[in-house]
């Protein structure tokens, strides 16, 4: 049997000397969508950042294998080029850097790594306009600086647009639903669902169940104090919504 897409084993991580992840284990196969839910401070975003390779997050124990390779030894750009994508919870605003230029540079870096030809500006513009239109993003946004002056919803759509363009193998969505109104949530969810497939795995990190009404997970995990304390099917998300984290976590501990 082929190695799972992502295999996290006994992961411990600290941020500024404070331990946040305390023995997290999780395995995702190609074609699966997993949801990780948990209260604030349970380590959800830390998990996302560790997987994307952000500086300042120290892994003190455990391992992360991506398609059988040691993910933690790879630089952030190597991970991205090899198909790991993180949709950020708080996409950063980058003044002066044109969105279309940024997207083309990123897509070409990934294509080059995959031995594919790079797009020229004209080819790319057509591609990106079509993809943006499908997400309900006005083409005018592509002329603006990266995320500068974007509303919360526009930033999240922009993340999904990047995911569509980069076509990752493993997509990690960090609270992509936060700050979205119901229409934006539907559009973003449609974007995510459109990217589900047998050749891709997803890790959906969320505080609320509502995103999971649109993006139905195969598995749901409950994170508490840096460990997964319960796992189950989609029904677990509904239980969490009804009973709250405190009860669910308490019953898991019992």
């Amino acid at each position: 049997m082929a190695a799972p897409l992502l295999e996290i084993t006994n992961l411990h991580a600290t941020v500024e000397g404070k331990s946040i992840l305390n023995g997290l284990s999780l395995s995702i196969a190609l074609g699966e969508v997993h949801a990780v839910m948990g209260p604030n401070g349970s380590g959800k975003s830390t998990l996302a950042h560790v997987l994307a390779g952000r500086e300042g997050y120290q892994v003190t124990e455990g391992s992360v294998l991506y398609q059988g390779r040691d993910l933690l030894s790879m630089s952030p750009e190597e991970r991205a080029r090899d198909g790991v994508f993180l949709a950020f919870q708080y996409p950063v605003e980058i003044p002066g850097v044109n969105t279309a230029t940024f997207l083309r540079t990123a897509v070409n870096a990934v294509r080059k790594h995959q031995g594919l030809s790079e797009y020229d500006a004209m080819q790319f513009l057509k591609l990106v306009r079509d993809a943006a239109e499908r997400l309900g993003m006005p083409a005018e946004m592509l002329k603006r600086a990266v995320n500068v002056g974007f509303s919360g919803g526009e930033k999240k759509r922009h993340e999904i647009l990047q995911m569509a363009l980069l076509a990752p193998k493993l997509a990690i969505l960090d609270e992509t639903d936060s700050g979205l109104d119901i229409d934006a949530l539907r559009q973003v969810s449609d974007g995510i669902n459109g990217l589900r497939g047998a050749d891709r795995g997803m890790l959906v990190i969320t505080h609320y169940q509502r995103l999971l009404d649109y993006v139905r997970p195969d598995r749901v995990h409950v994170l508490s104090k840096g460990r997964i304390v319960r796992s189950g099917g989609p029904e677990l998300a509904i239980e969490l919504e009804e009973r709250g984290y405190a009860d669910t976590v308490a019953s898991a501990a019992a």
Binding site: A52, G53, R54, E55, S75, P76, E77, R79, A80, R81, L86, F88, P91, V92, I94, P95, G96, V97, N98, T101, F102, T105, A106, A109, V110, H113, A145, V146, Q162, L166
Partner: protein, 450 residues
């Protein structure tokens, strides 16, 4: 006859002024025009230069820029004119941008390289050396401002200018293409001292885009003190771009003054890339109600380059507006200076002034001295300033890397974007694009020219 080197020069008769360098460059005044008005104004400017001397770092305005390396240079007045690389001049502006052109070789007007056909009737451009009649009056006025001013460099240039240009726009004259002044310098031994002077008079309601490009040929040392003196008449609109890409051993001490009349608009964009020791000094004075000035600057430094950006915005009349943004990127041991002063004179009520400077330090050894200053002598004003310096925001770098963009490329993209914001401020998109590309090549480590 060669001029004696500084070491051989006699002691100054009256001794240098307080704060002057213990070194006086004595050039050789070249006759310009021959009009007695010019001769007299020149003598006054010369006396002023003698009085001021060349500033040492004890002079507040030169605190961060040390001219010792100039004092050590063996200098002679520029005489030999370089053979000019026309291809390089062709690359200074976007290909599709039609422009009128004047070329100066080591400060001397090169009539064989000028493109001034089809100038509108209301625009007259003559070499400084040929100033007569009305042009002579304009020149002597400019020399007198230097003689009465506080700038050593302006006074020195006024005393020793070998050539330059007088540009006169009649009321309502608008040039539909930019006027490009190309200053090409080439070093020799001893190092040539080059003092070109350009005087522009834009009468009421006229409009012009003026682009000055400074390029060096070869690696040799030279010293240049280009002065661009600008009178912006009522309701006139002047866009003034300075692109500084001198040779690697060059000392460039540039000075510009713009006097901005009622409801006039003056816009400046500086791109400073080259040179060893550089000062880009600009003084903009709003002399009558309703004037507006926008100053944008982008400066780059690497190796041991020193680049000083000194600006003075003087609000001398009510209801004027000023906006200034200077941004820099410094690598290696480069040192940058930003001295930006906004003065609001008594009576200049309802002044609206804002100034911002930001510098990105790309190495631990790079350094910026930022000194923003507000001097306000009126009580109904809106003025602010800000200054930041530091490394690139690591969150920006991470975001790009998380999308597959390598670290070097990410930094390049970010710095280009950071400076590009300033460059985009110039009202000509084709030109902005062109300078952005130039900055990108600098960031890519590509050396140009030479």
């Amino acid at each position: 006859m060669p001029t004696p080197s500084p070491a051989q020069q006699p002691e100054r008769a009256r001794g240098p002024a307080r704060g002057a360098l213990p070194f006086a460059y004595a050039g050789r005044p070249t006759p310009i025009g021959g009009d007695p008005m010019i001769v007299e104004a020149r003598a006054r400017a010369h006396a002023r230069y003698e009085e001021l001397g060349l500033p040492s770092t004890r002079v507040e305005a030169w605190k961060y820029t040390n001219l010792q390396s100039l004092a050590k240079l063996e200098l002679m007045p520029a005489e030999r004119l370089p053979a000019i690389d026309l291809e390089r001049i062709g690359h200074l502006l976007p290909k599709e941008l039609r422009a009128f052109r004047i070329v100066f070789g080591n400060g001397r007007w090169r009539s064989d390289l000028a493109h001034l056909d089809d100038l509108p009737a209301g625009c007259r451009i003559v070499p400084l050396r040929e100033a007569t009649g009305r042009a002579a009056k304009i020149v002597s006025g400019s020399l007198d401002r230097a003689a009465n001013g506080l700038s050593s460099i302006n006074a020195l240039n006024a005393a020793y200018a070998e050539d330059g240009a007088i540009i006169h726009l009649d009321p309502g004259t608008r040039l539909d293409a930019p006027l490009h002044l190309v200053f090409v310098c080439q070093g020799t031994e001893p190092a040539p001292a080059i003092h070109p002077r350009v005087v522009l008079v834009a009468e009421a309601g006229s409009a012009l885009t003026l682009i000055e490009s400074h390029i060096g040929q070869g690696e040799g040392a030279y010293w240049t003190t280009p002065v661009i003196d600008l009178l912006v008449g009522p309701e006139a609109q002047l866009r003034h771009v300075k692109f500084q890409d001198e040779g690697p051993s060059a000392i460039h001490l540039g000075f510009s003054e713009a006097l901005i009349d009622r409801n006039a608009f003056y816009e400046h964009l500086l791109i400073s890339v080259g040179g060893r020791l550089v000062r880009n000094e600009l003084r903009a004075k709003l002399t009558a109600e309703g004037g507006a000035v926008t100053l944008n600057g982008a400066f780059l430094g690497r190796g041991r380059q020193h680049v000083d950006n000194t600006t003075d915005i003087v609000h001398a009349a009510p209801r004027c507006r000023s906006r200034e943004v200077y941004k820099g990127a410094l690598d290696h041991q480069a040192r940058g200076v930003f001295q930006g002063r906004i003065v609001v004179e008594p009576g200049a009520q309802q002044t609206d002034g804002h100034q911002l400077t930001r510098t990105i330090l790309l190495s631990d050894s790079a350094e910026i001295d930022a000194k923003p200053m507000l001097e306000i002598y009126a009580d109904d004003v809106k003025c602010s300033h800000g200054a930041t310096a530091g490394a690139l925001d690591p969150d920006w770098v991470h975001y790009l890397r998380a999308r597959g963009i390598g670290e070097v490329e990410a930094r390049r993209l970010l710095v280009e974007g950071f400076l590009g914001e300033v460059i985009d401020g110039v009202g000509l998109p084709a030109l902005a694009q062109h300078y952005r590309a130039r900055v990108a090549r600098w960031l890519g480590g590509e050396e140009e020219g030479a």
